[in-house]
């Protein structure tokens, strides 16, 4: 498959695509450099730049659809960025259906969340401006990530979103857990970044370029080893950014940031960058030689989706359950793009629908916490449906979309992935399809548990006080918060149905034609099976949590699986045992070597030189006679040596 040959130069409306980067970047710059002067209108400017970018994104979308199918791959050259000898990185934008889709998602959801944040951050007027500056910075970096036309540009955006994510997770910097979470996210992302960087180095070494068109044009001529190595290293990068196994542990902790951040960055957009990376590299993964790399991608996706579901069942923190749900849903997407041509479009489809309903779910969670003194422990909530009707309804729609209720968004996207996994064929198909089906059931279970404990049942908060001693007075949030939630709920309901028909065809120029394969079970059977298993999961949850009193504190005497799930399936322990502790030992060893060995050597040499200097100094007696003697000695040596060399 040769995609590179048909890249066109962008002009017209698309020629101004740099606006997409400049608008939010300028917003961030003004808000950060302007200081307190911009306090009053900072949030408005921050929202306006993203909305303007969204408007331009829509124009760009129609401009792209206006082109013929063959002309939809376009490059916009901006300037030569790194012209060094053999390495020539141009700074350019890739405007094709894939990137335009992401532009719409990022600016669209981004606009809604900026608007929502105006209300959500109203308690923190002093710092709201800085918050919007960081959000704008994030949007600019994320757009650069998806728009760049080379892997180096992508890496620039990749690091930019990492920075913005770090700053926003650590927003409540006065609190230890937020600072630690930010640090953890940053460090674990570095592991993935190293993988991405190494992949780029390999490309440059073997292909001599990092531009998409050149790389994808020539990747087929490389040896299998190189292709698999690049594929696996790219996947490592994707694992870091998208919270995939074994680098998933930072994402739940990232919920320490404000809820809009969780919704925008850690649910809808940034964490899907890994999926984008693999879909973008589809010409590489589609190669026959890359089969092993694709298998690794599928395995990682399957492990992660199961792991996320299981841990999600055991948590009592509203946002953390949603975070593990995100981990698991991204696992679905990774699994889908790992399927190759049969799955790229499905992965992106699920990414889009997930962007809608997960952002909506997070905003709902934020709305609940906003009205409940920032209480996030679901055991202390309950019965909020009547107090917050809009939040309840929009959240429930998102919930139904997520668990794959028939004809809502998730139904179209998740079912398709399960079906495609089964269609992989053979044992492989049964294993991956089975895991995906099991995941659907577990998803329904933990999401129903969440719904029941938060919105239904008895209001357990009535006799409790929040940590700062206030009693709870739940109330519905203001319109800046509810309107984005309503819009996202509409999206959650409709997006799947609308997109599932058009998206594969629309993405075809970028990721290739969707190859629908038919597995051992027909589509209808798979659909019914999925719905039944989901219903089963939801039913069990109703039986367990829907009846009777729920304890306000979480039970301590529980079975081993629950303990394991509560401990993140020992993910952190694993990291600590495998990486952290050996790292500490290595550091201690090196410090020891440095203190005793290196310092000893250095000090020894210094002492030796100093001593010899002191001894040599005595030759400098100050007497002319001894000076003359040393000159004479030197001369005799020089002449003797000259003659010896000549006559020896």
């Amino acid at each position: 498959m040769n995609l590179a040959a048909e890249v066109h130069q962008a002009s017209g409306v698309a020629g101004a695509a740099w606006l997409l980067l400049v608008l939010p970047a300028a917003g961030a710059a003004v808000l950060l450099l302007g200081g307190r002067r911009t306090d009053k209108w900072g949030h408005l400017l921050g929202s306006a730049t993203v909305i303007a970018a969204f408007v331009y994104g829509v124009l760009l979308f129609f401009d792209t659809t206006g082109q013929g199918t063959e002309d939809r791959l376009r490059d916009l050259h901006l300037f030569d960025w790194i012209p060094v000898n053999a390495l020539d990185v141009e700074f350019g934008l890739r405007l094709d259906p894939l990137s335009v889709t992401f532009v719409l998602l990022i600016t669209g959801v981004g606009s809604l969340i900026h608007i929502y944040s105006i209300g959500y951050m109203s308690h923190e007027l002093r710092d709201r401006r800085r918050f919007f500056a960081y959000l704008n910075l994030f949007v600019a970096a994320m757009l650069l990530l998806v728009l760049g036309n080379s892997f180096v540009t992508l890496y620039f955006g990749w690091e930019g979103v990492g920075l913005a994510s770090y700053l926003l997770i650590g927003w409540y910097q006065g609190k230890d857990f937020a600072a630690t979470a930010a640090k953890k996210a940053f460090l674990m992302n570095r592991v993935g970044d190293v993988g991405l960087a190494l992949a780029i180095f390999l490309m440059f070494k073997n292909i001599g370029s990092t531009q998409y068109d050149v790389v994808f044009d020539k990747i087929g001529q490389q040896s299998t080893g190189v292709i698999v190595a690049i594929g696996v290293l790219l996947l490592l990068g994707a694992c870091g950014k998208s919270g995939q196994f074994p680098l998933q542990a930072w994402l739940p902790d990232a919920m320490a940031g404000p809820t809009p951040v969780s919704a925008l960055i850690h649910a809808a957009t940034m964490v899907t960058a890994g999926v984008y990376l693999i879909a973008r590299s589809s010409p590489l993964y589609s190669l026959a030689q890359a089969g092993d790399a694709r298998l690794v991608v599928m395995i990682i996706g399957a492990i992660t989706l199961l792991l996320g579901c299981i841990i999600g069942c055991a948590y009592d923190d509203f946002k953390k359950v949603l975070a593990y749900s995100t981990v698991s849903q991204i696992g679905y997407m990774i699994l889908a793009v790992g399927l190759g041509p049969a799955g790229y479009a499905l992965g992106i489809l699920h990414l889009l629908t997930h962007g809608f309903f997960k952002a909506g779910l997070f905003l709902g969670a934020g709305s609940v916490m906003h009205g409940m003194n920032d209480e996030g422990d679901i055991r202390r909530l309950g019965g909020l449906a009547r107090k917050m009707p809009i939040t309840f309804i929009t959240w429930t729609l998102g919930y139904l979309a997520l668990i794959g209720f028939p004809f809502l968004s998730g139904y179209f996207s998740k079912d398709a992935i399960i079906e495609a996994a089964l269609a992989e064929g053979g044992t492989r198909g049964w294993i991956f399809g089975g895991i995906a089906l099991l995941g659907a059931g577990l998803t329904a279970f933990y999401m129903t548990r969440l719904l029941i404990l938060v919105f239904l049942g008895k209001p357990r908060w009535e006799n409790l006080k929040s940590a700062d001693g206030r009693s709870y007075h739940p109330h519905e949030s203001g319109p800046t918060m509810t309107i984005p939630m309503i819009i996202l709920a509409v999206g959650s309901v409709a997006a799947g149905g609308v997109l599932s028909g058009m998206l594969p065809e629309w993405l075809e120029p970028a990721v290739g034609k969707l190859q629908e394969e038919h597995g051992p079970l027909s589509a209808t059977v798979v659909s019914v099976l999925t719905v039944v298993i989901s219903a089963l999961g939801a039913g069990i949850a109703f039986l367990l949590f829907g009846r009777g009193e729920q304890p306000v504190t979480r039970p301590q005497r529980v079975s081993f699986p629950v303990r394991a799930a509560r401990a993140d399936l020992y993910g952190n322990h694993l990291n600590e045992a495998l990486i952290s502790r050996p790292g500490v030992w290595l550091t201690r060893f090196l410090v020891f070597v440095d203190n005793r060995g290196v310092d000893g050597l250095v000090n020894g040499i210094a002492a030796g030189l100093g001593g010899s200097s002191g001894r040599l100094r005595r030759l400098q007696t100050g007497f002319v006679r001894s000076y003359a003697l040393s000159m004479l000695g030197g001369s005799i040596l020089v002449i003797a040596a000259l003659l010896m060399v000549r006559f020896a």
Partner: protein, 530 residues
């Protein structure tokens, strides 16, 4: 003296000028030398005729005008100078591209040195004794310290020395070179003894320098005699052609070369012929030390380069190993002995011994790269040293310059600007990037590497690392130590010293950031072999 006269007699028996010099002798080429030496004579007359109170001002104006005029003559000549060089005055001098570069360097450096010498703001009356004839330690001596007069003969002496240096760089035969060597040395011996304060130390330095200098001159001259015995000529190109194809005794050639080179290495203060350097650098008046440290080094290495490249090119495989050894000894002595010095001027002296070793590495790489690298290194080293001594002259207490390192402790707290400037110069001497010292070392080491001297470059790098220690120690001392209670004060310099230090610092920075222009000039041509 009998040796000299016999050699002169031998030289006179030479056949007439070879047929290559049919064209009329050109004087345009040597206008710079004529201007400097002529002005030196005028300067002596001024000294004899003018009343005492007019002498300082007229001498300063004359010296600066002379250097400027010589520089102008050089620039004018440079425009249409033949690339291959030009032989003048019956073949005794050869004005070629490296010679012109050395002239330019010498003139620029001596401009700075004359500014330092002329300064009367740092020490009232200047750094020079009011009347050299007064015996040290007497009542009259204490009176002269307080007086504002100065022995203005230092200006004609400087000009004579400069003229000697310029002639030395372009001498085409060894006898002219010897005469130039004496012309540049004798004024320097005198100048070393003219310090206003610590006169015994100053006079001791002068006597030591003179005795050892005479000793080294004897070596040089004996070498010339042996080489004449070998080749029948004192002209370098004749020696080269004799060495290239003859069956005469090589003993004369190599013994002669060894003695000649020893004489030159002495002037360049290359170890182990450096023994005079610390004592003389310390004892001489600081402006004279600056002049010596910068200009003598340039002239001496100019001579070494010419002798090695012109006369001994064909025998390099025999002598190269020996000069390897000399370079190593020089670097090791400079770097190691510098570690335990407690006097700033002595420390810089040992640093100059180490730098002489680095320069020698470039000089024995007999390639165009080696030549241009060494010339560039001389330019950078000269300006850095000049500025460093300028700074040293500013740190004073009641008894004159405070050169003991313990007195420099915590200087940065009292005078951040001076400490910053000195730090920059020390970093340049250590060869840290963004200073000219780095570029200089880089081009010299690169030339040596490409000429197959890898091990020598490794030793040189180790030596620079060791030497960096004592430069950095001064920086640490200035910034991180508590100042002594009765420490020295930093004099606010007058226009002259300020100008000299600024010149040195600016060139050090400029050649570190944008060295291309000077490198191009240094590499614009080779020595003329005629």
């Amino acid at each position: 003296m009998s040796v000299i006269s016999s050699v002169l007699l031998l030289a006179q028996e030479q056949p007439a000028a070879p047929p290559t010099q049919v064209e009329a002798p050109s004087v345009t080429a040597i206008w710079p030398i004529l201007i400097v030496l002529g002005a030196a004579c005028v300067s002596v007359l001024l000294e004899a005729l003018l009343p005492r109170h007019l002498r300082w001002s007229s001498q300063v104006v004359l010296s600066l005008l002379t250097i400027a005029g010589a520089g102008l003559a050089l620039v004018i000549y440079l425009k249409d100078a033949p690339v291959k060089g030009e032989v003048v005055l019956n073949g005794t001098l050869v004005v070629d591209r490296p010679g012109l570069f050395l002239w330019g360097t010498l003139l620029a450096l001596s401009l700075g040195a004359v500014l330092l010498i002329a300064d009367r703001s740092v020490e009232p009356g200047g750094a020079f004794v009011a009347s050299a004839a007064i015996r040290p330690g007497t009542i009259q001596d204490r009176a002269q310290v307080a007086s504002t007069g100065m022995q203005t003969e230092v200006f004609p002496l400087t000009l004579f020395a400069l003229g000697g240096m310029m002639t030395f760089c372009v001498a085409n035969d060894l006898l002219t070179m010897f005469v130039a060597l004496e012309v540049l040395s004798l004024p320097l011996y005198l100048m070393c003894g003219l310090a206003r304060r610590r006169r015994l130390l100053s006079q001791e330095a002068a006597v030591k320098y003179f005795l050892l200098g005479a000793f080294a001159s004897a070596f040089f001259l004996y070498g010339v005699a042996l080489l004449y015995g070998y080749s029948g000529s004192v002209r370098m190109s004749d020696i080269a052609s004799a060495a290239a194809g003859s069956d005469r005794s090589d003993t004369l050639l190599f013994a002669g070369m060894g003695l000649l080179v020893v004489g030159l290495l002495f002037k360049a203060s290359v170890g182990p012929f450096h023994t005079w350097t610390p004592d003389v650098y310390q004892g001489a008046p600081t402006p004279v030390t600056a002049f010596m440290g910068a200009c003598t080094k340039v002239a001496a290495f100019g001579g070494i380069l010419r002798v090695l490249q012109v006369a001994f090119q064909s025998t390099q495989w025999e002598w190269r190993g020996v000069l390897w050894g000399v370079a190593i000894v020089s670097m090791v002595i400079g770097a190691v002995l510098g570690l335990t010095q407690t006097d700033v001027k002595r420390m810089i002296a040992y640093s100059s011994v180490a730098h002489a070793g680095f320069l020698l590495i470039g000089a024995i790489a007999l390639t165009q790269k080696g030549l241009s690298g060494t010339l560039f290194y001389l330019l950078t080293y000269g300006f850095t040293t000049l500025a460093a001594f300028g700074v040293i002259s500013l740190v004073r207490d009641s008894s004159g310059e405070a050169t003991h390192l313990s007195q420099w402790a915590g200087l940065a707290k009292r005078s951040p600007l001076l400490a910053g400037v000195f730090t920059f110069l020390l970093l340049a001497l250590a060869g840290i990037p963004l200073t000219s010292g780095f570029v200089g070392k880089f081009v010299v080491f690169e030339a040596a590497l490409s000429d197959g001297m890898g091990p020598l470059v490794v030793i040189a790098l180790i030596a620079s690392a060791v030497a960096a220690f004592f430069y950095l120690r001064v920086i640490v001392l200035m910034y991180f130590s508590e100042p002594a209670a009765d420490g020295p004060t930093v004099t606010v310099p007058g226009a002259f010293t300020t100008a000299a230090i600024t010149l040195g610092v600016l060139v050090t920075l400029l050649l570190g950031v944008a060295p291309a222009f000077a490198l191009d000039w240094a590499g614009s041509g080779a020595f003329a072999i005629q």
